[in-house]
């Protein structure tokens, strides 16, 4: 990859996305280099917790109830408000589908 500094990297799969996929593990407070699918740098995001590689981070704030976008598509909605740099996973995102009758 083309990043010049040895920062952990995260992949932004579509320009519409509100999340990025970490390619490397990150520690609390570390700045992550955002890359597009052509490995071009898109800036940095500081993460708020240690996160496993290939999990998602928010690259912008997502309000409670708002759709979460990955691949340029809806992967769920925020079950609580999410800040830029937060780990995005089952603790703050729920499925939009298969939810009738289940809660």
């Amino acid at each position: 990859m083309a990043s010049t500094v040895n920062r952990p990297r995260a992949l932004v799969l579509d320009r519409e996305d509100s999340v990025a996929v970490l390619l490397d593990p990150v520690a609390n407070g570390e700045a992550v280099m955002l890359l597009d699918s052509g490995s071009q740098a898109l800036g940095t995001v500081k993460v708020s917790t240690p996160i496993e590689p290939f999990h998602k981070i928010a690259i912008r704030g997502i309000g409670q109830g708002e759709h979460v976008i990955k691949y340029g598509e809806v992967i769920g909605r925020a079950s609580r408000s999410i800040l830029r740099g937060d780990h995005v996973h089952i603790h703050n995102v729920e499925s939009v589908r298969l939810s009738r009758g289940s809660r």
């Binding site: 990859m1 992949l11 799969l13 996929v21 390619l23 496993e52 590689p53 290939f54 999990h55 998602k56 979460v68 990955k70 691949y71 598509e73 809806v74 992967i75 769920g76 995005v88 996973h89 089952i90 995102v93 729920e94 499925s95 939009v96 589908r97 298969l98 009738r100 009758g101 289940s102 809660r103």
Partner: protein, 401 residues
């Protein structure tokens, strides 16, 4: 060889096998032991044991019959022995007659027709031994990739599947279809949340309606139970690997279908009409899927695995023992954190994520693997020393009575 051909066994009906399997097909689960005993001393024989009972009714039996006949029709089966009891709910003789339309050697034996258990075994063994002696006379010849039908599957998915293995498989599928080949994807449950993308790729309005129909049916059937599917879709392993919702899993899964139009939708037990990309309607359950793909005529399956614990299973996730000789399976690894388990795989696509390989290199290696496997190169699983024989699960929508 040119880039649009491989070396296969041309059957008398024009279809092309990539292996010469002596398939021993029980008509019901009561005949599984007969199949095992007939095949026991014949190295090239594959007793395809399954769960078809007498307790299924109606459409399930129709689909099961189509599936069993389809397995016999699969061009990788060089010869087929159907064994039954005689009181099976599905007719061994009927299956054998349909399979024999291919022109391949087919025999059927039942306890009723042979008169005793021992006679079925003796005659079955003798028939298989003769068929095995005939196989060395078969020669591979150069055939077009339009004669190849490829199943595509992902399992043990994590967040790497959608950015490593699945995109490479999608590129390979596009290449195959550009060469007039056929590819079949399935796992209807795992299309929920991505079906709008598939509908847009439908080759006709009726295919578009079929895609929506099968996805809505599975979604409604889940909702009707009132069961919360979270914890099953995505699975605990999916979640540990960074996948949060079924939509996210589905959107990552459909990447392996590439970008070609979707030419058709067919039910489990059925077969695709014509070349191109097709959807087989089947739940995401590996044994049922493998039966379905082989019955649909797929000679080869590409199976994408993410990482984590599923990548640490040496055989095949979702099965008991993994071996399915009728349809070779190419295992593809996506997660670079599991590189040390790469020996359990045929292809390691994870290099595209940690800079060891370019995406183009991963795609080319997978393409060459597909063509090479079709031409006779063994897959990892084909040489896997499985400790037991699997009993494959038939699809049942119910009721079981």
């Amino acid at each position: 060889m040119r880039g649009d051909s491989f070396m296969g066994f041309r059957r008398s009906n024009g279809q092309v096998g990539i292996r010469n399997i002596l398939l021993v097909l029980p008509a019901s689960q009561c005949a599984n032991e007969l199949a095992l005993r007939c095949a026991s001393e014949i190295p090239g024989a594959f007793p395809l044991l399954h769960t078809q009972p007498c307790a299924h009714v109606g459409e399930d039996n129709v689909a099961a019959y189509r599936c069993l006949v389809g397995l016999g029709l699969n061009p990788n089966a060089a010869a087929v022995l159907v064994v039954g009891i005689g009181c099976d709910s599905l007719s061994a003789e009927g299956m054998a007659e349909e399979i024999a339309t291919t022109g391949k050697p087919v025999e059927w034996l039942t306890l009723e027709s042979a008169g005793s258990w021992e006679l079925v075994v003796d005659r079955g063994r003798a028939w298989l031994a003769f068929q095995e002696s005939e196989i060395p006379s078969q020669r591979r010849e150069e055939v077009a990739l339009s004669d190849l039908t490829l199943g595509i599957k992902c399992g043990g998915s994590d967040a790497t599947s959608a950015v490593a293995g699945n995109p490479a498989i999608g590129e390979a599928v596009d290449r195959l279809i550009e060469r007039d080949g056929t590819a079949v994807f399935s796992e209807t449950t795992e299309l929920i949340g991505a079906e709008h993308l598939l509908r847009e790729r439908a080759a006709s309005p009726s295919v578009r309606a079929d895609i929506q129909r099968v996805v809505s049916r599975v979604e409604e059937s889940i909702l009707a139970t009132g069961i919360d599917p979270r914890g099953t879709q995505p699975t605990p392993g999916n979640i540990a690997g960074g996948l949060t919702t079924l939509e996210e899993k589905s959107l990552g899964g459909v990447i392996k279908t590439g970008s070609c139009p979707i030419s058709g939708v067919f039910p489990w037990g059925g077969r695709p009409e014509g070349a191109g990309l097709h959807l087989m309607d089947c739940p995401a359950n590996v044994p049922q899927l493998l039966l379905g793909w082989a019955a649909a005529g797929a000679q080869l399956l590409v199976f994408s695995v993410g990482g984590g614990l599923p990548a640490r299973i040496p055989s095949l996730i979702g099965t008991n023992v993994g071996r399915f000789p009728l349809m070779p399976i190419i295992k593809v690894l996506s997660n670079p954190r599991d590189r040390d388990a790469a020996a359990y795989f045929d292809e390691d696509a994870s290099g595209s994520l940690d800079g060891r390989k370019s995406t183009d290199q991963v795609v080319l290696a997978l393409w060459n693997r597909i063509v090479g496997t079709a031409s006779g190169r063994h897959t990892y699983l084909e040489d896997y020393p499985a400790p037991a024989t699997q009993i494959w699960e038939m699809l049942v929508r119910g009721p079981t009575i």
